[in-house]
């Protein structure tokens, strides 16, 4: 393996050296518990407050509307479970989509077992929630709409402003899983009428194990993790101070260079997509071409299976991911690819390349070059391709 070409930034990202530097003092020097009253901890408490301010700023929220959690999954679980608990007198119906992250979908499945009614909206072939479907799904008992800001597999950016407006019109809370979008694309909770929002540190070159939930003032919310009085009694547990500080630093950097990064990543992304489409036959680009995360490439190569492709890519130092069942140990391929209408056998051959602003054009080209060889090689050993070619030649 030569150089490492990391194109799995939607899974997790490298922590920026400046972020690590900012975190370091909080391990060995400023290690005090911010809840303590002695001077030694007071500075830590102030630094946590500043971090909260920075993070609130990313989405136009107020400081006191930001709650720290242990990650995106916890935020998602909290948002759904606590809303159901807090609003049970109003109703017990939730609307979400078929392409949400498992942190939402599996929580919904659990809630269904507790008697909650969940509507899973279909999406169109690009992965977009259909506004008309959403409107039709609303009932008098609907308490929450939870639609992700951007999809983690195919990169499609949902019309959350429209969804927020509909939620508001109908007096329904709107939660959005912004784990893939926070710090990557502009979000404003007021303009978009977002009542709750989940984000995670490690998707924006910040640390793992820290996340946040935005909860609009006035939204009734129960605790999910009960215990100490941290986070204004809403989320117990000693503050993960280095995590919080690192998350805020990463967000600060992400916001400062957002425009520049979007422009750059979009260019590289589209270059990869164009070359794949031009140079490799029998492929399908997944996700919306325009309403798309700047760092996301998702493509299905027919007649081959994703895991084999990933291993061969890895042998060239290239890190990508696949919605293939074989990478997850289940039998069905990605629920997202099935939801946009792909047949199983095609969904199995998917590849997600999620780039960063450190991805160079040379790397992009190298990846496509290797990919061409790999696809050819795998097709040459694929019985599906054999059959396909025979059929063509008939």
């Amino acid at each position: 393996m030569s150089k490492l070409i990391y194109m799995d930034n939607a899974a997790t990202t490298k922590v920026l050296p400046e972020v690590v530097d900012t975190m370091l003092p909080y391990f060995t020097e400023k290690y005090g518990n911010p809840s303590a009253i002695y001077t030694f901890a007071e500075q830590v408490s102030k630094d946590v407050a500043t971090a909260r301010e920075t993070l609130a700023g990313v989405i136009g929220a107020k400081v006191e509307e930001i709650y720290f959690t242990g990650g995106g999954s916890e935020s998602d679980n909290w948002a759904l479970k606590a809303t159901v608990e807090a609003y049970k007198n109003k109703g017990n119906h939730i609307i979400t989509s078929k392409i949400e992250h498992h942190a939402i979908l599996h929580t919904c499945a659990w809630l269904e077992k507790q008697g909650v009614e969940v509507t899973y909206l279909d999406v169109d072939e690009n992965g977009l929630v259909k506004i008309e479907d959403l409107k039709k799904a609303i009932k008098p008992t609907t308490i929450l709409i939870s639609i992700m800001t951007a999809n983690n597999e195919i990169g499609t950016i949902e019309p959350i402003k429209e969804i927020g407006a509909i939620a508001k019109e109908n007096g329904i809370l709107f939660h959005t899983d912004a784990v893939q979008a926070f710090g990557h694309i502009p979000i404003n909770v007021d303009e978009m009428n977002i009542d709750m929002l989940s984000a995670s540190g490690h998707k924006i070159n910040g640390p793992k194990g820290i996340g946040l939930m935005y909860i609009r003032k006035g939204v009734k919310i129960k605790s999910f993790i009960h215990g100490g009085a941290q986070e204004r009694n809403r989320r117990a547990g000693t503050h993960n101070v280095p995590g919080i500080i690192g998350f805020a630093k990463a967000a600060e950097i992400a916001v400062a260079k957002m425009d520049e990064r979007i422009a750059y990543e979009t260019k590289i992304r589209d270059h990869i997509i164009k070359r794949i489409e031009d140079e490799i036959p029998y492929v399908k680009i997944n996700g919306d071409r325009v309403k798309r995360l700047p760092n996301n490439v998702n493509v299905c190569f027919r007649f081959i299976e994703g895991e084999s492709m990933l291993i061969l890519l890895a042998q060239q130092g290239i890190c990508g991911s696949s919605g293939s069942a074989c990478t997850s140990g289940s039998l069905d391929p990605s629920h997202v690819l099935l939801a946009i209408g792909l047949p199983h056998e095609i969904a199995h051959g998917s590849l997600r390349l999620s780039i960063s602003d450190e991805t160079t054009k040379e790397e992009a080209d190298f990846v496509v070059d290797e990919l061409k060889k790999i696809i050819e090689r795998l097709r040459s050993m694929s019985p599906l391709y054999e059959d396909f070619v025979k059929k063509q030649n008939k």
Binding site: Y282, F303, S308, H344, M381
Partner: protein, 145 residues
Amino acid sequence: MYSEKVMDHFSNPRNVGEMENPSGVGTVGNAKCGDIMRMYLDIDENGVIKEAKFKTFGCGAAVATSSMATELVKGKTIQEALEVTNKAVMEALDGLPPVKVHCSLLAEEAIHAALWDYAQKNNIKIEGLKPPVNDIEELEEEEEY
């Protein structure tokens, strides 16, 4: 995740290919589940497997078990080949991760399916061999992507 043996057989799969006039050919698995294995056997008049070829659509384990299975049956009599179980294939590969055990079952099935085809063509009965559950579905004629 995979043993060195698995990685070797995946990266340098033995006996990949098709056969012009195979004594028997069997295809097992299901594109929906992401695993299809096709095995070609060339069996001589003494019932010895002279040559084996495969094509596989599937994960690393699927490819490696196909490769190993072809290696294991080569030179064996039909009866010996029937004893090449999924366990034997796995052992020869120094094991597989638990979630991948089903791939080794596929390899066993592929051998059986190819032998069944051979038996059918030659109108013979092979002791202990059951008809393959052919669960591969016709590739639907989808629109071109």
